[in-house]
Symmetry: C2
Subunit: 337 residues, 2 copies
Amino acid sequence: MDQTKNRQIVLASRPKGMPSKENFRFVEGPVPTPGQGEFLVRTAYVSVDPYMRGRMNDAKSYVPPFPLEKVIVGGVIGRVVASRHPDFQEGDIVTGRLGWQDYSISNGEGVHKVSPAAAPVTTALGILGMPGLTAYFGLLEIGQPKPGETVVVSGAAGAVGTVVGQIAKLKGCRVVGIAGSEEKIAYLTNELGFDAAINYKSDNLRQVVKDACPDGVDVYFDNVGGTITDVVMTQLNYQARIVICGQIALYNLEKPDVGPRILSQLLINSAMMKGFIVSDFKDKTREGLAQLTTWLQEGKLRYRENIVEGFENIPEAFLGLFRGENIGKQLVKIADL
Amino acid sequence: MDQTKNRQIVLASRPKGMPSKENFRFVEGPVPTPGQGEFLVRTAYVSVDPYMRGRMNDAKSYVPPFPLEKVIVGGVIGRVVASRHPDFQEGDIVTGRLGWQDYSISNGEGVHKVSPAAAPVTTALGILGMPGLTAYFGLLEIGQPKPGETVVVSGAAGAVGTVVGQIAKLKGCRVVGIAGSEEKIAYLTNELGFDAAINYKSDNLRQVVKDACPDGVDVYFDNVGGTITDVVMTQLNYQARIVICGQIALYNLEKPDVGPRILSQLLINSAMMKGFIVSDFKDKTREGLAQLTTWLQEGKLRYRENIVEGFENIPEAFLGLFRGENIGKQLVKIADL
């Protein structure tokens, strides 16, 4: 590829409903030069994540909207190729929210070095990155699963859900995953050790969930929302905890959705529901990462990555998240590391 | 009145939607005689409470359904008139869930003595009883208000809401009450010191709530549910806490209601929502009661009681709760203490 140009993807327009390729525009500029206290990163892997859909809207969310005509900002892994920063040297492998572009300038804020000795570097965008930490803190800090309890996770085959279910198993829980294909169901039960997995496209989902959770639901880790969550909410136990991590079923709706009111379910079960974003737990990032790394090295956690090649395929990989195409972490490789 | 007969009110039928007098039946029986380890209570005051509506249904709730043709069980204050129990003497004033009847037999379980020296005895059914403790634990244990935060309470003029708002003021919060009449609004702001009070029948309720909460909502104590709650949910701050105490707007609906999905609001604000029942905190009852009694004796808490006279008026007093008729605690006096 041409190392004198910087390919970038900017937000061309805000989607109404399901986003499409037309919401993105490919542009090219010169490779930037780091100033004093800065360094230049050559991007190798780009992460596409469901939460980014919220930033495409011009509305209050837990992260501010992407500005129009600016580079889409998201997690990447890359290598430092020039540095005028004391803590980052040429050759360092780093991760951070640097964006959908070949080259990024950073002052080091929010950028961390990745050690290839600990685990394959791509895990820094998955099980040892934002999705893994999201699973770890959401489940353990909010869900607080106890041995013998039933933990249900929606979006179970995704980058977060796969980690949630495995940690819940490590904590001695009965784990039930909800996902959208037979391939995902098989992966969860055969490869990740989930006790049961449910295809949400099943007829009579309520009965299927009930059958999979004969002792009710103690913890529900929700990545999805909508009708799947409506069903799970009918099966809560006393003092159940519902962790709201994502609502992917709702992100692309053109109007706010209506559904059954759920406050009565919380009331009659003394149940707790909490939304969160991984940065709520930023003071504990080191602890979480150390534990996840240990479990991974001990072989107690497994993961899968779905890596598409080619800068031009980034938007399509992102859009695929909303069609439920990926198992595990979706990445795009745009250059060798 | 005839002291040889025991008037009782039994559940005659389960209501569909709004209950009516026809769901209750007046019966009479002989005055029971306490056996060994039991005592006889002559009821003086009967409490009517919104939560009792849930027990009229034949559905799972946080308390089991009232059986048909059995005495309606609810909180009362009465005097021990005969005792074969070592801990209760004739003449003791007691409170407990003994039911809508002149005379009750108890073995002491769930029955407590009331000291007329501490406060007027009727407070044992209100600010120093279940409603007061509900307010105390819900607000402080779940809501965890901090000085300077904005606390909104719906059903603000009721037995629970009036205490919630006053405790929040004691904790240094800005307190906004939501209620359904101008008389209630005036009571909250003029007599109880709420910073603002909103009539939920206002046009453009969302704007009215927004104006009353210029810094957003940190704690929402919900007694009501439905569209009022929908509006408050649009004004949450980061890490807001929503305490689900009651959903009186929904209790009399014939079908489960639908409304805007609120999980996205919890997600983008890292907000927490929890249902509860006062018995979740039964280990702390003594502490809560001691604090409420102290505040009351210091003049830091005020209360109002609405006392209707006459056994025959119990059902109507209960039904009035759902018409929003009462300010403060609704009681029925059926005999002198």
